[in-house]
Amino acid sequence: MEWLQQLFNGISLGSIYALIALGYTMVYGIIKLINFAHGEVFMIGSFTGFYAIAFWGLGFFPALILSMAVCAVFGVLIERIAYKRLRSSTRIAALITAIGVSLLIQYVVIYIRGAQPEAYPNVLPNRSFDIFGVQISSQSLLILLVSVVLMIILQFIVHRTKIGKAMRAVSFDPDAAKLMGINVNNTISATFAIGSALAGAAGVIFGVYYTKIEPLMGIIPGLKAFIAAVLGGIGIIPGAVIGGFVLGIVETVVSALGLSLWRDAAAFIILILILIFRPSGIFGKNSKEKV
């Protein structure tokens, strides 16, 4: 039963990674940019949720929605200010800008409010259920539920709405999409908004689940979510979800084996193995390079 317990913990952790990974994968799919600042959007979402709950006394769901809204606006701002004019520049320039934006956000937040951590208020009732000998807290169940609902909404947006169709078209071929009358700029902004909103939700969920947040909290989950996105095949939405869950489970298993100090290394080893043996990820298709 110990293992079932770990599996459940892994899925809870994995749902957070999956939510962040979705943003990475959507942005990468549409403009081929690794948005390093995505981890910082996650951090901003977590802090928005914290201030909403601790100072304005909002409940969990209003805080979640507020934080998603703030993050969506924030993500679009980052895209419009920093990334938009980089579309035609080299990949290295875009990547360096993304790293720069990420550090800028981190240290502006530290400059404004200091680097001290903050304890997340307890907003959700916490009871434990005993199912097949597995201790499941109502909190982690709710968190899992929220993540799954958000993923289903995303799936609906991408496959059933007009903007989702536009997003898929732009990621397939931006020039052809433009010729078909799709407003490419707005579609890219919408992608950033949706991805960032998911990261914001992940931030609030992370805060409630781990109860401690700080301005540099986005780096490691951000990198790991990126690994999850690569694992599932970057640019592929279901891949990001599966990758997130796999990574979450592997990490909990490594911790359960008593190797918790090696937990971060495990994620990077997975990354390197996947990059060497199957760079296109679990669900990715191999594409030949053309001149």
Partner: protein, 317 residues
Amino acid sequence: MLKKVNTFWFSIVLAFVFYGIIQLLISTAMLNPFYTNTLIFICINIILAVSLHLVIGITGQFSIGHAGFLALGAYISAIMTMKLGMPFSVALIAGGIVAALAGLVVGVPSLRLRGDYLAIATLGFAEIIRIIFLNIDYVGGAAGMQVTHATTWTTSFLCLILTIVVIANFTNSRHGRACISIRENEIAADAMGINTTYYKVAAFVIGSFFAGIAGGLYAHNFYIIQPVNFGFLKSFDILIFVVLGGLGSLSGAVVSAILLTIVSTFLQGLPETRMIIYSLVLVMVMLYRPQGLMGTREITDYFGKWGRVKGGNQYGG
């Protein structure tokens, strides 16, 4: 040809005259320990910047894990002097060689990757190296390792000159031109019969070797080394030297390493401000001058008749 050789020796003599003046100032105590330390630190940073310049600027392989090799050199050389009682010079070379071997191990699989993927893989390797040191009790784990102070102005300057001479000459050789062709267009270089994998790995190994040397100097300058010092931010510090100076410009990397080290020494008390300035500079440079301050030009281009280190001059110089 003779003229070229003469310019080379002229620069070397000039460098040693500069070295002699500084050494005289230090031994007559005209320069206090703070300034001496800053000078040593500048030397270390230039070595790091130039070694990364070979990987990113010349060969065009985007590595953001340079701090991993720095850490490796630092720890190996510290183990050599502190645990095994070896002399400092041996420790430096050992640090460099181990870092170069690690560069080989990391480079062979990851250099099959391109662009973004390569960047992430190198970042991953650097993190793994750091986590390994964090978990080895022999080197003190998270608490770090005490190291004696052994780095002097003489050793750091000698290492600096060695690094610049080797990398400048490499760049000007046929191997260097092969590397530049990989940067400009890998597929075309491949089609012209250049063994791209070989040259990418070679550049990576040489870069790692000098990063390891810099690590040895770094470890023996700070009394203590901790895994925390070699995280992602350290890699970023090195990256910004290269990017700000201009991707492909050796003198640009040197100049920006000097400038930024001085700036960060003055901002030591205000780490957040320093990081805000650094990241703003990085974003601004990328948005408005993506080729960096110097582009691929060298300082010597502005003087015309001096010897040139050609980093592939795309402006026709």
